[in-house]
């Protein structure tokens, strides 16, 4: 078997989510080939070549792939996919964008968000916001799979010495154009990769109050998240949303502040190692999953926490 893993990157650096996908590929078993498609992204290919367990890197370096437009990326992957038993990508907004397109072009099913590999054709994935786990089996000749990063450890960044092969395939469809990108610039760790996350919910009352969480986050080196209720209420931008339809996180420590604990939110954080809940409503469902619950007014408890850490 030979497994194609699609690298997630920003043309400059390989993103860690790729390393989780490589670990999923190892669990399936077989040769692991990483595709780096982008523009002026040779450094990414070099980084991918040194990842432990990778046997070959394919580099498709062309302006048409620079912004990961799914129309172009999926056409490229579909063209080379026949040589592989599996095509894997991390289940990020980038992977989720082009992988179903790849599967449809190949006429096969796509398997979303796997959290475990049972065998080369059988995988486990959460459904109903993680309230059930489905074991699914694929009889397709090529298995197109997205990998939930929290389900697999990161493969070691060093230890491999794969050869880099250049692909000359240029797939460009002038039906879609990249216009612009506005990425949030933050000194803090990224939400999905942080070892500590502190999140605020509707109980924060407004966006300005998130500064209280920032003070704790500064002390702990934590990332800041939010519940859907806080995003819907316009307190903070959507890229901070943790939950079924936002980001899935599994840090060592998750601190939920003023979050009631709707199932949609729990779906995004219940695999965290240690969960702390601070909420003034002692009946809040969040306490049912919290290792440590503090029934308190967050406007007193959170500043006190920031002071005493």
């Amino acid at each position: 078997m030979s497994i194609l893993v699609i690298a997630e990157h920003d043309n400059a650096a390989l993103r860690p989510a790729t390393l989780n996908a490589v670990t999923a590929a190892k669990a399936i078993g077989g040769d692991i080939v990483v595709l780096v498609a982008g523009a002026s992204c040779a450094a990414v290919a070099t980084a991918a070549a040194s990842v432990s367990g990778v046997s070959k890197v394919l580099l498709a370096d062309n302006a048409v792939y620079g912004n990961q437009l799914p129309e172009n990326i999926s056409a490229l992957i579909a063209e080379i996919a026949a040589a592989y038993s599996h095509v894997l990508a991390p289940a990020t907004t980038t992977g989720k964008n082009f992988m179903p397109r790849v599967a449809a072009l190949l006429g096969v099913a796509q398997i979303s968000d796997i959290i475990a590999v049972k065998s080369a054709d059988t995988f486990v994935r959460p459904i109903y916001a993680g309230n059930a786990l489905a074991t699914v089996q694929s009889s397709d000749t090529i298995k197109v799979v997205t990998v939930r990063t929290t389900g697999f450890e990161e493969a070691a960044k060093e230890g491999g010495s794969a050869a880099v092969e250049t692909l000359a395939v240029v797939k460009s469809q002038d039906i879609a154009e990249f216009v612009s990108q506005q990425l949030t610039v933050s000194e803090r760790p990224e939400l999905t990769g942080a070892s500590i996350v502190i999140s605020g919910g509707r109980g924060m009352q407004n966006g300005d109050n998130f500064v209280l969480l920032e003070k704790v986050a500064d002390k702990l080196g934590a990332a800041i998240g939010a519940s859907r209720a806080a995003v819907d209420a316009g307190f903070v931008p959507n890229d901070m949303q943790v939950g079924q339809t936002g980001k899935i996180v599994a840090p060592d420590l998750y601190i939920a502040v003023g979050i009631s604990g709707a199932i949609q939110h729990l779906a995004g954080m219940k695999d965290s190692k240690v969960i702390v809940a601070i909420n003034k409503d002692e009946e809040a469902p969040i306490f049912q999953v919290a290792d440590y619950g503090l029934v308190a007014d967050l406007f007193q408890a959170v500043p006190e926490l920031a002071d005493k850490l």
Binding site: A104, I111, A134, A176, Q181, T245, L294, L305
Partner: protein, 249 residues
């Protein structure tokens, strides 16, 4: 321009589902069913485009058991002009659903297709992208802003780390994210009027689509449960537990 909106009948977002004892699936007996929340956003966006004079007709499509006609009627009450129900099993996989929608898009000559980004039951997040691939259309997934002008759709998308804007040549496929709009409620007179709107029923055979899938669900199990821990009395106790017991700070 015709807009085709695909909607899915799902369990209501507030229902906590339970896995069946024989692990064959989840128990939806007597569960409250509703339009998938992302699909409501898709309907609303189509209505707003029509209200701006950018579309002439909105066709609401749902694929599934007969009961999903209820959700089509909801879309008609909100402002869709006519409905199409493709009668099939409720648990069709995304690829056959995309193939059925592709045939309908061709038949109707839709200039824009709007769908929810994912359904809250199977959580796949696939159909829009698959439909776009089959139809050779560009896609604007996870949309939080849509502008239509000069034969193109300018779509701002929610991506990890921020937002991205793409310009798509119509016809195109758009999938909705949460912040795109706030769906309206249907008024009673509109609910009554919706009962008289046209709703056609088709079968996969009528559309010449094979609905088989290479994927089968072999078991559905409850997730490992997480038990409640302890309540701490103060911030001091919390910090001390995190340091000495959990050892995470």
């Amino acid at each position: 321009m015709k807009i085709l909106v695909a909607i899915k009948r799902v369990v209501d977002a507030n229902v906590k589902v339970r896995v069946k004892a024989d692990h064959s699936g989840v128990d939806l007996t007597n569960a409250k069913m509703a339009v998938n929340p992302f699909c409501e956003i898709a309907i609303e966006e189509a209505i707003r485009l029509k209200e701006k004079g950018l579309a002439e007709e909105i066709i609401a499509v749902s694929i599934g058991e007969k009961a999903c006609q209820e959700q089509i009627r909801t879309a008609l009450a909100l402002g869709a002009d006519r409905g199409i129900h493709v009668e099939a099993a409720a648990d069709l996989q995304p690829l056959p659903v995309a193939r059925l929608l592709h045939k309908l898009v061709e038949r109707e000559g839709a200039g824009l297709v709007i769908l929810g980004k994912q359904s809250i039951d199977s959580d796949n997040n696939q159909v829009g992208q698959m439909l776009a691939a089959l139809a050779g259309m560009p896609q604007g997934t996870f949309a939080c802003k849509v502008d239509i002008a000069d034969g193109r759709a300018l779509v701002t998308r929610e991506v990890d780390g921020g937002e991205q804007t793409v310009s798509l040549k119509l016809p195109a496929v758009i999938t909705t994210d949460l912040r795109l709009n706030e769906p309206r409620y249907a008024s009673l007179p509109n609910i009554m009027k919706a009962k008289k709107k046209q709703l056609d029923t088709l079968t996969p055979d009528d559309l010449g689509v094979d609905i088989s899938s290479g994927l089968k669900v072999i078991a559905v199990e409850p997730p490992p449960s997480r038990s409640a821990g302890i309540k701490v009395a103060s911030v001091d106790e919390l910090i001390s537990k995190l340091k000495s017991e959990a050892k995470v700070i």
